[in-house]
Amino acid sequence: MLGRPTFCLLALLIAKSLFAQAKPVVDYDKEVKPFFAKYCNGCHNADALEAGVRTDHSQVDDVFINDRENWLKVYDMLRFKAMPPEEAEQPEDAERDLVAIWLDQNLNSVDCDKVKDPGSVTIRRLNRLEYNNTIRDLFGIQFRPADDFPSDDVGEGFDNIGDVLTLSPLLMEKYLNAAEQVAEQVIYAPNDDNQAENLIALDQFNVNRSGSLVDGGLRFTSNGDATASFEVPFNGKYILRVLVGADQAGSELAKMVLQVDQRTRQLMSISARTRTPRDYEFKMQLSAGKHAVRIGFINDFYNPRASDPNQRDRNLSFFSVKLVGPEVVPQDALSRLQREVLAVRAEEGPEATAAAARILTPIISRVFRRDVDSAHVLAYSNLVNLAMGQGESFARGMQVSLSSILVSPRFLFRVEGNRGSQGGIRDIDPYELASRLSYFLWSSTPDDRLLSLAFSGDLVKQRVLESEIERMLIDPKASGLVEGFASQWLNLRNLDEVTPAPKFDFSDSLRESMKTETSMFFEEVMRRNRSITDFLDGKFTFVNEELAEHYDLPNVSGPEFRLVSLVNTPRYGVLTQGSILTLTSQPNRTSPVIRGKWIMENILGTRPPDPPEDVPEIDEKKAESGEASFRKQLEIHRESPICASCHNHMDPLGFGFENYDAIGRFRVKDGQFDVDPTGILPTGEKFEGTEQLVAILRSREREFARALTTRMLTFALGRGLRYYDRCAIDKILVELERDKFRFHSLVKQVVFSDPFLKRRIDGE
């Protein structure tokens, strides 16, 4: 059992062999075929076909292309030593290694002179982040409808993968609701008196005292009041119209008070009856923004001894509250679009359609992110007549048209046509390129500059492309790359889900601060074009007072974040940031295994294989509880070779960070035990603490660069990477290293790569 090289070591060996220039050539007939015959073909032949896999091919020229999935399984099973099964004859390690190398060569390495496949991305719908940003940038409104959308499906570590994103009926319904709401905000549609009428719903009212919803109204049987907040679109004169009725009794009429914000109350005597309510109007001047209205009943009356039973009890009910106005819309409060729409005087029919088309053409072009033909525009413009036919205004019709544009598949999906012969390769056209660029770097729609460059065709020129990338990375909208890419690459979104145990006193504000720190760090590397190795060992970060206290950094006060140096502190890059340390922990303790796995996946780009099917029970007698330190207990778990093969990789990496507790605070003791942050990696490298481990990781900067490039290319393309993308990645890495691993180079090389600028034409 001892001395056998483990699978993970094997993977590293293989990885190293791929980096080396010379590749060992393994001969199928001489070395691999006999191996399969001896150890595998008994079960995995054309007849028996155990688990649907056969290894008994006479020749293998096509099998890797046609049967790739199965060969990947064979590769996994073999190197992980899950196959042959325990009871069968086991091959020698040397034999196993050789066949694994052969498999890896056939599955992963590729002759870049022969294979030039840029891949094909399946049509991608906008995800939540992209939808919100797109609405913000198209219309300049702060409304974020996608916050209520269901979560996006994640694949390949990202939520923007075309093949993976689904469109359920629930989501379609939300798209439709959102489209209508956006249209209402963007286009102002007053009624015939040129006044907008907005209902404040009854259930928006918070009852302060003794009111309840009865028979479609809010009813007060004794003195009481209710409050609701409402939005006022523009400064101006308004009317609050309240439909009110009362049960009358006693010598005076029921009295209602209406108060807006903290200002003077208006008092009204209500003569209308509950069964026949009437509108009562309250005039006032209001400023744009949020206000509160309070409606109350102030003269309750109850005389059970009154002779007429209908004169015993005075109550008040109101049935609807409408905000009407403003009397005159201040012209400077309207957007150009709103003014344009209100200025139209067109008859229902072709005149209205033409007016709508004139206004909508530039909008549709931006919403669909490309040139549009007039037939198209007319179809959407024609919808104005639907509303006008119902007696509504042109403006209202424009709202309907706009809402339909916003649920068109040409908006919701990023369309890249399949023109050309099947299997052929074509260049991405300038408009498609504009969208790819803006959704990559901004997670948002192309701006006017990108669209004009697309229109003129200049965008595809290398020089122009390069300067646009630089412009985009400086633009504030590049925060979209942080929110879209960085948060997913680093698994930051998981930070929202963690629930550290109460003993840690982990507040939501600390959680937010941690997210901010890591985001700002990434943004700094991005905007200042720093080397990506800073993610590993950069000696700076961003903290506010709360976080500085958390990290024991002196002289930081106030809630604002500022750049601080980490020299002379035990902190390095992102690896020791509170965010990462917390999201890789259990609620009540650290987890070296999870931390090790995180580093392997996101920094080194080698995902550990899945645990085997039947994880054997830990021998209870051996598990000492409370007597041994946590680390000692973990080491017991690795006594079984099946577990050890992968845990020998994950655990040491995690042990190297044991000086940071489950919420990232530095510690030298874990309970009663001293922290032991030493370890040995399967390569034999030893480290005595975090600093040395980080140095080892830094020495693997090429591996890190490959890992980051792979992730970024995946995100930029919106598809999983295939073996043929290896050529593009290799090319990117050469240029990246030449520019000392600086961030802008990475982005530029990704954009200049074949997979980004071209696509394969899909089958019919």
């Binding site: 269901p150 629930l170 809402s403 598949p409 999906f413 046509g417 609620p587 099917e613 029970e617 899909d762």
Partner: protein, 444 residues
Amino acid sequence: MNKLDRRTFLRGTGLGVGLPLLHAMNPNTSVFAAAPEPPPNRMAFVFFPNGAIMDSWKPAGDGDSYVQSDTLKVLEDFRSDFNVITGLAQDMGRAHGDGAGDHARCASTYLTGAHPYKTSAADIKVGVSVDQAAAEQVGSRTRLPSLELGLRQGRNAGNCDSGYSCAYSNNVSWKTENVPMAKEINPRLAFERIFGTGEKTDESRRRRDFYRKSVLDLVRQDAQALVEQLGKDDRQKLDEYFQSVRELELRVQRAEELANIERPELELPENAPSSFEEHMHLMYDIIALAFQTDSTRISTLMLGNAGSNRSYKMVGVNEGHHQLSHHRNEKPLMDKIRKIDLYLAEGFKYFLKKLKEMPEGDGSVLDNSMIVYGSGLSDANRHNHHDLPIVLAGSAGKTIQTGRHIVLSEETPLNNLFLSMLDRLDADVKSIGDSTGRLTAIDT
């Protein structure tokens, strides 16, 4: 099954007649104010993650004189309204050569009985779930074909379970084998989907629906033109768009045919509540109201996503649920899980009480429902997909004999229960997952 005869006339009369006619005759009043016809059956499926401690879940004895278990004792007040069923399994949740990923399989097989295709990215595939199989057949009889709810969206960064896409862990309802039915986690939004926002009058809602018909029609045509330009994989994606648009069009149509339902009263916070208990109760409230008003007859609720590592501080459990479920048979850890099991069962009691207190016909809404409360795993330490913890509440119009502990032979497919449930909704479904027939043990 003799009760089926009472419903045959409903099936025969087709869409838009029968029950919907009742609405049109009594606008703006509760549907069953004067219902001469028998109330329809409903089905709901509640899912809790990470299984349960089975020795505390399973009652002793069988039949109707069984001894209630520790975990389910909290439901004793409603003993005559439910059955505890032992012996059910979802065999397709087992690895069958795919290695690890039992939690992803737990959730994705729970209502489908199909083996999910192991992928972390593209080509997600499992099977149609029982609720959607029902919705496909009979969903058009109500305003909303079905209602999918949950308490958390679910992790959506990185891998969710050993090489399985997060879609498998975060959904129990699957419309097709590739498309999960996204769940709503905000109670207010769920409520508004069913009952409207209250900001609009009937008149303006009708007008909005009128416009929506044309809007949907136009974009569907545009999509048809678009499809011409696209490749095969793209067309499959556009298909989802088409289906969803079509679904919405049908819903608009139904809203026109069915009279308006009066909006029930329910105090709702703006966003999803931070208190688990409040959140859970609100979702139960909403399903109950939806059933009571016949807004839908089919619903699913995920109390947590598969493999959920949520801690339950309110019952003194500070560790993560998933973390604990690998208890290695250690009593202190198992006791903590027992607390979680008990707490969630108490939540379910809230739901039963709500349904029982809604009078309907000569009984209650609960009497005309079938509620499954369970998980796709039993012992989560061993990742067992058999001997599942399943409670079946409600008698579906007295066609299910309740108040028993039904002990079946081991490995009875859970999907057999689903077929029996589908029968009682008049959904004509021949098989689901690895079903082998009906579960006649529940019949009266």
